[in-house]
Structure formats: C-alpha cells, structure tokens
Symmetry: none
Subunit: 502 residues, 2 copies
C-alpha cells in the first residue's frame, strides 16, 4: 500500500473517530444524561461535528481525492480504498458546494424548528410550525439547485437516503400498493372476524419485559459482547464501532409489544451492523448500504421472525412464564392473531404491517408534490387529512395526530420516509429469495435455527456494508429489481388467513 | 474584556470540550461498554486526547500565554482568566517537554491497561497485568527525567496530585500515624469488647440497596438533575461538565455497606464538583483544588456524616425498611458499633476509618521504592503481601485481594494514593473548624439539616474550585497548616468509646 493511500485511510479514520465520540455522546443523551448538562453537551457535540465537517471539505481532502482518483494511482488501490474514495468524493462535492454561512444558518434553523415542532405538536397548532417548515423546504429546494437533478426534482432528495430509487420507480411501487392494499385494508375493516386483543394490555412488569427482550435478541444472534441494550424514550440502534453496536428500547407495562417487537426490530438493525466485514472498519463503508436496506433487516427480524407463528410456537411458553398470567387462558392461535391484528390507525410508528405502507405513501405523495411546487406548505394539513380518509378511511381529529406527528421534517429530513416502505418491500423480496435455500423456513424458527438465518443474511447482505448500492444488493440477492408483488402476496396471504377471508 | 482574552478563553473551552468527550467515553467504558468495542474506543480516546494535548503545547498556546502574561495585559485580565493563565502556563511547561508520540502511546496504553486490569483482577492473575504495569512505571520514570525533581524522585509524582507535599512531609506524617494508630489498632484487636456484626452480612437485595443509595445521596444534597448514579466495578465520581457530575457504585448483596458508604463517599466528591462557582466553567479551574482536598470532601461525607451516630438516629428506621429484616432485632447502638467495627482487612476501599491510613502507607512505601529503583514490578505481589502482614497482621489469599485491588496504577496514577491519607487529615481539620460554627453538629445530622453543612462547605471550599492551592484553602478554613493531630484525636476518642477502652 502506497504512503498516500495509508495517509488517506488514517485521515478518514480520524474523521470516524470524531463520529464515534459524537455517537457515544448522542447515545448518552438519549439514555439518561442529566438535564442540567445538556446545553454544554450540545456545544461539545457541535464543536466535534464542526471539526469532522471541516476535515471533510478541507483542501487536504480535495488533494487526497484528486491524487487517488488519477487512473494509475486508482488502479493500484486496495478495492476497499477505491470504494471509500468514491464515497468521499460524493460527500466532498455535495458538501463543498453549500456556502458555509447557509449551512450554519440551516443547522440553527433545524435546531429551532425542532423546538417549535415540539410546541406545535403539544398545542396541535400547525400554524406555529408552518413558517419554519417553509424555510426548511426552501433550503432543501436550494440544495436541489446546488446538487442538480435528473428527471424529477424530488429524486435528488430521495438519492440521499436510497441511491438509485427515483420517483418513476416509487410511483409504480406505490400505485401497486394502493391498488392491492387499500381494498384489502377495507375488506379487513369490514370483516366481522376480529381477533380478541384485550389481554395484550394487561400489566406486564417492566423488569420481566427487560429480561425477555434480552433473552429474545440473544436467541436471535445479537452479540452482547459487541453491544448492549438500554432504555430510551424512542427506541434506536446506534453503531459506535463495529464491536459496539447498541440498541435501546422502551417499556410500556400496559403493552408488552412496544418493548418486545421494538427490541427485535432494533436487533435486526444491530445484527446487520455487527456482521459487516471487518476490513471495512474506519473507512465510512462499515455501515448499512442505505436506509431502506437497513430497514429491510429490522423489519425482517421484527415481522418475518417476531410476528411469525413458528417463532411463537417456540417461545409462547417463555412469554407466559415471564408475564403476569395474562396469557394463561389464551391459546397460541388467539395470541398469534392478536399480535397480528390489523386496523387503520392515525400514527405511523404504531401501525401494523398491513397498513404501514399507506402511512408512508401519504408522506411520499406530499413530499413529491411539495418539491415540484404543486402544493404549498399551508395546504398540507388539509391534504394530509384527505389522504388519510382516502387510503385509511379515517381522518385525524387534530394536527398533532396528523401532519405534526413525526419529527423528521423539523430535522430537515425530506426524502427519508419512502425508505420505510422500501424496507418492507425489500424484506419481502429477501424472504422470498431465502425460501429457495430454506424452503421450510417456519420450521427454522420453531426449532430456533436463527444462526442459519443470520449467516444467510450476512453472506448475502450484511458483510458488504456500504460497498454495494441498495439495488445492486437487491438484484444480487433476489435476481430481480424492486418488486412490490412479494410484499403484497405475503400480506394478502397472511391477513386473509388471520381474518379468515376468502 | 479584550479580544485576546476572549480568544484565549474560547481556545481553552475547546480543549475542555475534548476533555468532556473523553470523559463521557471513559465513563461509558467503566459502566458497561461491550468488550469487543474497547480497542477501537481506546484509539478514539487516544486520538481526541492527542488533539487536546496538541492544543495545550501548541505555538498558539505559547503565544496566548506569553501575551497574556505581559504585565500591562495581565493586570487588565479578569481575575479568573489570570488564574487560568497561571494554571495553563504550568501545564504548558510540563507537557511541552513530552514528545507527542510518547504521550499518544501512553494514553492508548492506559486505556488498554485498565481493561487488562479488570480481567487480571477477575482472574486474580497478576502476570496478565504486570507487563502493562512495567510500561506504565517506565513512562512515569521518564516523566521524572523530563520534569526533574527536588530531593526525592517520587516528589515529582506527588506534586501532580498534592502540590507542595513531599516525601519528607509524608515520611513524618506516616511516622506519626504509625506511632499513634498502630498501637490503638493493636489495643482494639486485643480488646474483648467486640461489636456483633454478623447481621451486617445478611442478604440485602441489590434493588433495595440501589434505591437506598439514591435516597441517601439525594438527602445529602446531591443534585440528580446534574448527575446520575450508575454501577461499575470500582466506584468513582466523574465530572463531564458542571451540570453533569456522575457517581458510580457497586453492590454486594452480602454486605450492604459497600454500596451505601461507597455511594455516600462518591457523593461527597460530587457535591464538591456540583457547587463550584459557575464562572469557572470551561476554564480548567472548575474542579477540585487537589486530590487531597477532594478526598477530604468525600471522606467528610462518608465518615463525619455517614458513620456518625446522629445520622443513623435519623435513618436507621429507613434502613430497616429497605433491608430483609436483618436489623429488626438490632438496637441502634449495636448497629452503630457494628458499622464502626475496626479490624485489619485486605481491601482499602472497604477499610474502616482507623486502619485506612495503613493501607495507604503500604502503597506509599511501594511507590516510593519503585520510583527510587529499590524494587521491581515483578516483586510487587510479594512485597505487598509482606507489608500487609507487617502493618495489618494479615496476608492476602490472592492478588485480586492484594496488589490488584485498585485501578489507579492501570490509569497511570502514581503518587496519587498519599492524597487519600491527606484527605483524612484535612477532613478532621475541617470538621474541627466547622464545630466553631455548628457546635451541635450531631444534631444537624439527626434533624437532617444537610443543606447547612453543604452550604458551609460550599462557602469555605467548594466554590473556589482550583483557584486556590490546597494548603491555602486549609489555612483559610482552619487557621493553621497540615496537622495530623485532629485526625488522631478524633479516631482515638471515637474508637475508645466504641470499644470501651480507658
């Protein structure tokens, strides 16, 4: 390895060291840091972020990238270094064109917008948030002019989270979902066959939920020597380094599902990160390929394992053991039906598998229209409510339970939401591909052979980290491109059975 | 305030930001960070430490210090800035002479050595730790050559923790303690009047110990909005910033005293840090005056409050409530005598007030010999065991209960231990001074007026942070210099009463 390649790798390793320190502090702030220290901690995070950002857009970085991209040098690089150079070139270009003062103003704007959003949500008053949302949208429109676009302006934002996925692709996907899922949801809503669910809400002691959460993710293959499980207001997975991939969960003593499925979901993210090839550490490639692929892994674990009947054939007794006798009189079948109840609700993060994509579709359609100047920020609550009525058959009683429910826009994340739906679609495609190797998939779960599943995912997805694009991975794993049919078939089959529809 | 003063304060604030990030990671590594991430974390800590270190020894720092020290400029500075300039000048000179690569290697070494120490202690295998200890000692010997020494080589290390305290002073102090305390310990050992203590070792559920620990330190004035209590192998207090002063403890279900007195001890450190004047934040002056003064505060809380009979007159019922009925048949008097039992034991941090200084004496003598090349690292377990036999009349059954018991050396802290003994001496002097303002001191405890004690300590000690030298503070508070007689008198009176000696 040449000296310049070594120096470059050392340089980006240092940038990643800042990121690790920031992530430790971020994790700490979400898992119990005392409130009087938060302002000062935020300053520290801001300071280290600035250091890392300045390293990214520095002349030194430019020199490295220029030299390493020269054909003769490039050909001699380690393949991993080449991928890192490509990634950093993209990041460098993207960030270098933003005027520093605009970027700083935007950071301040996001910070304020998040506070205002909190207040607006608490008061359920969209008009408080609207002026900030306008500025956030305007800034992102400006980003589109800085970065350019192909086909549709919104593609530029989508590309941030799911490279290669465009409005053309998503229009087709959501059109199919709309066509198939909306009628199914309606059919289920009107069905007289409803699962009994009252026992789900009985008191389930937090300490036992904690032990059970730990037990489950250990069974699934989460490595506790390379991670830990903590508590936070909103569950998340965070990678500090490859040997320290943490998950958090939250406990609701009146609904054990929050912790159990939440932990299994985050465990899916974490198993991905724990099994990326070691040689990628410190290169910016040692993380998931995209938001969508990441979500496919968490959803695979949450739904294709955690909400599978085979899984509960294995563990229902264990659950009964840890709970307060609430399931003693409930058959496995009744339990399985209950945890897979589907009904239209207002809050995305509480939605079931079947209706989830419809929530995302609303966001997608709104964002697409917004960045193509077809609608204005002021119209959004009305449009939101109309779409909920159209797709889910319900109308939010107020903006807190409607347009204001998620923080993402306040943080400047536009183009992010579609990744959630892509995660479902990818996961169903991946599951279908897995069936070729494991035709008796449900038996694997019933007999606890999670190692086989984890190894299959590692071989086909996890190990590559960010060295492959999301659609490259999908094609390599499934032999085809994005195809929502597998998700539709899976949902159709599962829910027709549960709701005993023809 | 002039521009250069502002720039200087901003500059050192950034250095402190690095320190905060490092401390968060340090705290995290001691409170449950997964083992597979430790090596990478150590590198990150090393990298950030190097950044801060390079800021300290930079030409820019030299320019600041030179300019700000010019008489006309210096006179115009804010008094706090002046103190910061003095402190930084000392640090600059001291560190400028250390080669950067040596320093960086040392930081990584310490971080790894602490993990190795944990493992060595768990396995009671000194040979695991010895190679790291040798390197740590060698580095500190090198420091002595860089910094020079007066009188005795070991003085240079002592000066790091307790400026002005030398081998000559300590030889005299320990000689006096040996002369007075050893016979008293012997007299007590031979006394037929022994407290009954078996009930102390009954099972006390960890969860209850945790609740009780939290309860006590809250009562004493620890601010949970500016800190939290966690669990670690070795209890410690760590200041992340002035609004985030954390304590850790450990729980032994067969001896509740470990957690209760350990937490109160760390709480004493924390109350000190939580009550330093706000104007000192970010200036390197916002921490305790010295290790010895710090220890005087933790020991004040642990012994002069936590082991005082008045305190237990107030809280004995509370303790009975949280415990497993083990104290139901035990009178307050019996309980008080039991928790003040004095007998030679192996573990310093669990030692009683009377024998504590003897533990420190062993470390002091070993460190002194080590840095004067009179003994080698390989000989330490043997020498340790011999000294315990000589001073305390007991020999550790293994190294975990002997030489490996403390983390300090693994963190590169040599010259630190004597501060613990100084802490006792200072604390007894401070208590004596406090009696002038609060002659009915025991009643304050019995009536829960801890706010008064905290305010007295804040007014006289805490608020000043590092703006005063340890012996300056001592003189201001007590009207005299270091005097071990108050400690000796206190111990003599207390233990003669408990053991009913003439």
């Amino acid at each position: 390895m040449g000296q310049i390649e070594k120096d470059f790798l050392e340089y980006i390793k240092k940038m990643q060291a800042y990121e690790e320190a920031i992530n430790v502090m971020y994790w700490d702030m979400r898992t119990g840091a005392p409130k009087k220290g938060i302002d000062q901690r935020s300053e520290v995070i801001g300071m280290l972020s600035t250091e890392a950002f300045q390293m990214l857009i520095s002349d030194k970085m430019n020199d490295y990238l220029t030299t390493l991209s020269q054909n003769d040098v490039y050909q001699g690089l380690n393949p991993v270094t080449r991928k890192a150079v490509e990634l950093l070139k993209k990041e460098y270009r993207k960030n270098k064109v933003i005027p520093v003062n605009e970027y700083q103003e935007y950071v301040v704007l996001c910070s304020k917008a998040e506070s205002v959003w909190e207040e607006a949500k608490a008061k359920s008053d969209y008009t408080l948030f609207a002026p900030y949302l306008k500025k956030l949208v305007d800034y992102n429109k400006k980003l589109i002019t800085y970065w350019g676009y192909e086909g549709n302006k919104y593609n530029t934002l989508l590309n941030e989270y799911e490279p290669g996925v465009t409005v053309d692709i998503l229009d087709k996907v959501f059109s199919k979902i709309r066509e198939k899922i909306v009628p199914l949801v309606k059919e289920i809503s009107e069905s007289k066959q409803k699962p009994t669910t009252d026992f789900l809400y009985d008191h389930f002691p937090k300490e036992n939920q904690k032990k059970l959460s730990e037990y489950f993710i250990k069974e699934l293959g989460y490595d506790f020597d390379a991670g830990k499980l903590d508590e936070s207001v909103h569950p998340f997975e965070i990678t500090l380094n490859r040997g320290d991939v943490r998950v958090t969960t939250k406990y609701d003593e009146n609904d054990f599902r929050t912790a159990i499925f939440g932990t299994i979901h985050e465990c899916g993210h974490a198993i991905y990160e724990q099994n990326i090839s070691e040689e990628l550490e410190g290169t910016f490639l040692c993380s998931g390929a995209s938001m969508g692929i990441h979500e496919s892994q968490s959803l695979f674990y949450e739904n294709f394992i955690g909400r599978n009947e085979g899984f509960w054939r294995r563990y229902y007794k264990k659950l009964q053991e840890y709970s307060s006798k609430q399931f003693d009189e409930i058959s496995l079948e009744k339990f399985y039906q209950a945890i897979n109840e589907s009904k239209p609700t207002l809050i995305r993060i509480e939605a079931d598998e079947l209706t989830y994509a419809l929530h995302v579709m609303v966001r997608y359609e709104i964002e697409k229209s917004l960045f193509n100047d077809e609608i204005t920020v002021d119209e959004l609550p009305r449009i939101w409510n109309e779409k909920y009525q159209e797709y889910l058959g319900i109308t939010p009683p107020n903006d807190a339970k409607g347009i204001l429910q998620d923080v993402h826009w306040a943080g400047g994340s536009f183009g992010y939401f579609p990744s959630y739906a892509l995660g479902y679609i990818y996961a169903a495609q991946i599951k279908h591909a897995m069936l070729k190797d494991f035709p008796h998939y449900d038996e694997l779960l019933e007999t606890g052979q999670f190692e086989k599943i984890k190894n299959w995912l590692t071989t086909n997805i996890h190990q590559y980290g960010k060295t492959m694009q999301p659609l490259e991975i999908l094609t390599a794993v499934t032999g085809e491109g994005l195809n929502a049919q597998y998700l539709i078939d899976y949902l159709d089959e599962k829910y027709r059975e549960i709701y005993q529809l023809s």
